[in-house]
């Protein structure tokens, strides 16, 4: 079970308080109507799903209810950093 540092509460909390919300930085296209079916499908469903470094969106559901990002290794499950929405990750895959 993960121990996750909530960047808003400023302390570690148990995974039970959080929900994983999938890959981070999937921005909604600014002009959806201009998207082809393929582009819209890519936005909706297609994911990097890497084995290794993964930037992902979580929400502190039972705590402050804020969404934030985690950089995590999907193989070892190590959390390498947490960062707020709008911030850039400092740990990235090679």
């Amino acid at each position: 079970m993960f121990h996750i540092f909530c960047p808003h509460c400023g302390e570690y909390r148990e995974e039970e308080e959080f929900h994983a919300k999938g890959e981070a930085h999937i921005a909604r296209p600014l002009d959806p109507d201009a998207c082809s079916d393929e582009e819209w499908g890519e936005f909706l469903y297609f994911r990097k799903n890497p084995r290794g470094i993964h930037h992902e969106l979580w929400v502190h559901a039972a705590g402050c209810r804020k969404f934030f990002n985690i950089t995590r290794n999907t193989q070892t499950y190590e959390i390498l950093e947490v960062y707020k929405l709008g911030e850039t990750p400092s740990v990235v895959a090679e």
Binding site: H8, C9, G10, E11, R13, E14, E16, E17, A62, G63, C64, R65, K66
Partner: protein, 221 residues
């Protein structure tokens, strides 16, 4: 037709502020009303390691990212500044008001039941800019848990670390609580307040009775 509408629009308030308390005396039923806590207090165990009390308070959710102006006007209304440090709470000198940090843009205000509308009215009149203040008194209830075994019961219910070094008096956290949730504030050395949702109150009451069984549970009013 259009004239009427325009007039209505001109008069239309930005926000609805509403006194929700009856002017006449009508029965007030807290979420644990059906449990008849008073009877249990009278006839139940008196020496329990855990002491339980349901408090009926006025509760308001304030959502805001205060700018300097807002901070000043809010402090003027509350008498205390909004605690900006995560997981902290402050109380007014009189103890009538407590403000709990919930999230970077959310606080829970505790006041006596009959002060909620007054507070809302003053906010509406005095605080400008973007914020939201919502009366949630009916949607929540407050359990006060105390006694020498209180921490053990809390440790059964939530994965928060209650060690003195981690959870001093005044700290407030929101977390899972059994299969529900709660906002937990340490109000004294051996006393904690749990703000819980109304519809879960009965479940949590059952849970707390069960979890306290091995220490004994005393109900007070």
């Amino acid at each position: 037709m259009s004239d009427v509408n325009n007039e209505a629009l001109e008069q239309a308030p930005i926000k609805l502020v509403m006194n929700q308390l009856p002017a006449i005396d009508v029965p007030f039923e807290s979420p644990l009303h059906h449990v008849e806590l008073a009877k249990i207090a009278e006839h139940g165990e008196s020496q329990g390691g855990v002491v339980f009390r349901e408090l009926s308070l006025g509760l308001l959710t304030l959502r805001c990212t205060p700018n300097a102006e807002q901070a000043t006007s809010i402090e003027a209304i509350l008498g205390v500044a909004l605690p900006s440090k995560p997981l902290t709470s402050v109380s007014s000198a009189s103890g009538e008001l407590t403000v709990m940090w919930i999230s970077p843009d959310e606080w829970l205000l505790q006041v006596p039941q009959d002060k909620a509308f007054e507070l809302e009215t003053r906010f509406f009149a005095e605080v400008g800019g973007h914020y939201s203040l919502v009366n949630v008194s009916g949607g929540n209830t407050v359990f006060e848990l105390s006694g020498e075994d209180v921490v053990k019961v809390l440790k059964k219910s939530t994965p928060i670390d209650f060690h003195d070094s981690e959870f001093p008096v005044g700290k407030v956290v929101s977390s899972v609580f059994a299969k529900s949730g709660a906002t937990i504030c340490r109000t004294a050395e051996q006393s904690y307040q749990l703000v819980v949702r109304r519809s879960f109150a009965d479940y949590l009451w059952l849970w707390l009775q069960d979890a306290s069984k091995e220490y004994g549970l005393t109900v007070t009013c």
